[in-house]
């Protein structure tokens, strides 16, 4: 309807790009999420952390490293993996052909495990729906939880995150970009206003 014009007051959308989280903020959010995961699951038994490509994968590795640092007995490499959801998406026919990312699951598989999905931005929820389908083909986890660095709202499906780095009210015309040192050279979360704000 009135797309574009009303702007949430805490975000100065007048400028082209606003940094909403810096490197330290991202680090603090991940540390908090790591503690919340351990608290919720009463320890790190049977945890598997799966990142959703592309930005979710380095985030999952960072999160796993923090989990291992906090909880004795956990080894980061043994609990982290990646889950590509491209082939499960419902919008393949609406976009140019997407490249398929890698799916790697820790040696123990996911049967009976608590899987924590990690993604950078939670938006429509469709990526997570695809991820749940993809998980279903890999095995049967005991529970699936969702960690997102940014929740920007505008859900189109009944999906919510268990662990959120920052809730960021946005308009659909804006674009939220997560930059990570591993892939982009620097770590920050940016809101870009403008008409080219397609969802990722």
């Amino acid at each position: 309807m009135t797309s574009g014009t009303p702007v949430p007051d805490d975000i100065a959308a007048a400028t082209a790009a606003t940094v909403v989280l810096g490197e330290q903020d991202v680090a603090r959010a991940l540390t908090r999420i790591a503690h919340e995961i351990l608290e919720r699951n009463k320890g790190g038994d049977d945890l598997v952390v799966l990142g959703i490509p592309t930005r979710g994968v380095p985030l999952a590795h960072r999160l796993a490293a923090r989990l291992a640092a906090v909880e004795p007995g956990l080894v980061a490499e043994a609990l982290v993996g990646s889950l590509d959801v491209t082939m499960y998406r419902d919008d393949l026919a609406q976009h140019p052909t997407r490249s398929i990312g890698a799916t790697t699951v820790p040696g123990g598989g996911i049967d009976g495990k608590v899987v924590v999905l990690v993604d950078d931005v939670l938006y429509s929820g469709r990526t997570i729906r695809a991820a749940l389908d993809a998980l279903n083909d890999l095995g049967r986890p005991r529970a699936v939880q969702l960690a997102a660095l940014v929740d920007r709202g505008h859900r189109e499906l009944p999906i919510r995150a268990d662990f959120v780095g920052k809730n960021l009210p946005t308009s659909t015309a804006e674009r939220v970009r997560v930059l990570l040192a591993e892939t982009d050279g620097r770590t920050e979360v940016v809101i870009e206003s403008g008409a080219d704000g397609g969802p990722r």
């Binding site: 026919a93 990312g101 890698a102």
Partner: protein
């Protein structure tokens, strides 16, 4: 990529993209649940005017693993045997809503005609046309070579690599072989050095400009230590009795161009042996060579499914507008215009 008609149409980036996609597809085929929902509701027609077992089954498996509906059509027992033309067959398939047509035809260029004559909207995949091209076979060969010779720990499929610096010997009936033609184009594109080895009678006229070296002596080429040796099938159905005048006798062909245990032993330790199948055991390849641990012939078949899944995915999954970003290239409009169609669809609850 709109159609896949010839490996000569693929540039290096496009070829690597197919191979990388195939690597991810192959990874899914090691799972207990091999089926993916990606092409649900799409229809793939296997239009086979020539006999084929492995290629048709491979395409059928690939399409089914991606949840596409598969319709098999062979010329025998169809209206083609009553004299229906390719055009009318294509119009019929179009009317039935085929999204992709996988075609094998005895006439070189038939897939090209099908793709460009305007009879059908479907994506066309060449599954072998006459003595012209067989692109998915070349892609699966390249995938197999890349996996064995460039993959390492941490990257077992060699994702992202090309074949630069590798030397591939293609041995045998080059004249009748669409596999050889597709492989020469693709291996050259990927940076490999190709040597064709065949008796002069089994080399096509005009082989000179091909991006490949030519030799008549297998032992000389094997002495150069090729990284991969691809044996071609002697296509006896395209010749008359015995050698059909192409060579004096099968025994002589085997002596000069057959891969046997002795020749296999002269290869470097890392070298692999490929064969597109079906093999003539005892003619171009001995049982010792075919069953040796270096022969990756059975693995080629498995990789064929993954490569064909990748091709079908790349042809069918997008919006048909490959690479062209929708309308964002223009100057950003003032914010009163609605966001592009992709965001507005269901953005408001």
């Amino acid at each position: 990529m709109r159609h896949l008609l010839s490996t000569a149409d693929l540039d290096r980036a496009a070829a690597i993209r197919v191979l990388d996609t195939a690597a991810q597809m192959a990874a899914t085929q090691g799972r207990q649940i091999k089926k993916l929902p990606t092409l649900r509701g799409r229809t793939v027609v296997n239009l086979f005017f020539e006999d084929s077992t492995r290629t048709r089954i491979s395409f059928e498996t690939a399409a089914k693993r991606l949840s596409a509906d598969v319709i098999n059509f062979s010329a025998k027992g169809s209206s083609v045997s009553k004299g229906e033309s390719l055009k009318d067959t294509a119009l019929t398939l179009q009317a039935m809503g085929a999204d992709a047509i996988v075609i094998r035809h005895q006439a070189s260029g038939a897939p090209h005609t099908l793709a460009h004559a305007g009879w059908t909207e479907a994506a066309v995949v060449n599954a072998g046309d006459g003595m012209h091209q067989h692109p998915t076979q070349a892609l699966l060969d390249a995938f197999t070579i890349r996996r064995h010779l460039t993959g390492g720990p941490g990257n077992p499929d060699g994702v992202g690599n090309d074949l630069a610096g590798l030397h591939v010997a293609v041995v045998g009936d080059v004249l009748h072989s669409r596999v050889a033609r597709s492989n020469v184009d693709l291996l050259h594109t990927l940076g490999a050095k190709v040597t064709l080895v065949a008796p002069p009678t089994l080399l096509p006229v005009g082989v000179g400009p091909w991006p490949a070296a030519v030799s008549y002596r297998l032992d000389d080429v094997l002495a150069q230590g090729p990284d991969a040796v691809m044996m071609l099938r002697v296509q006896r159905e395209r010749m008359s009795t015995a050698g059909g005048g192409f060579f004096p006798s099968p025994l002589e062909y085997t002596r000069l161009y057959g891969l046997d245990a002795r020749r296999l032993a002269t290869l470097p330790d890392h070298s692999i042996v490929l064969h597109p199948g079906p093999m003539n055991r005892g003619l171009e390849i001995s049982a010792d060579a075919a069953d040796s641990p270096r022969a990756v012939i059975v693995e080629q078949v498995a990789n064929g499914v993954a490569v064909r899944m990748a091709v079908l995915y790349l042809l069918l999954s997008g919006d048909g507008d490959t690479g062209a970003a929708p309308a964002t290239g223009a100057v950003p409009a003032v914010t009163s215009t609605p966001a592009p169609a992709t965001t507005t669809a269901g953005a408001t609850a």
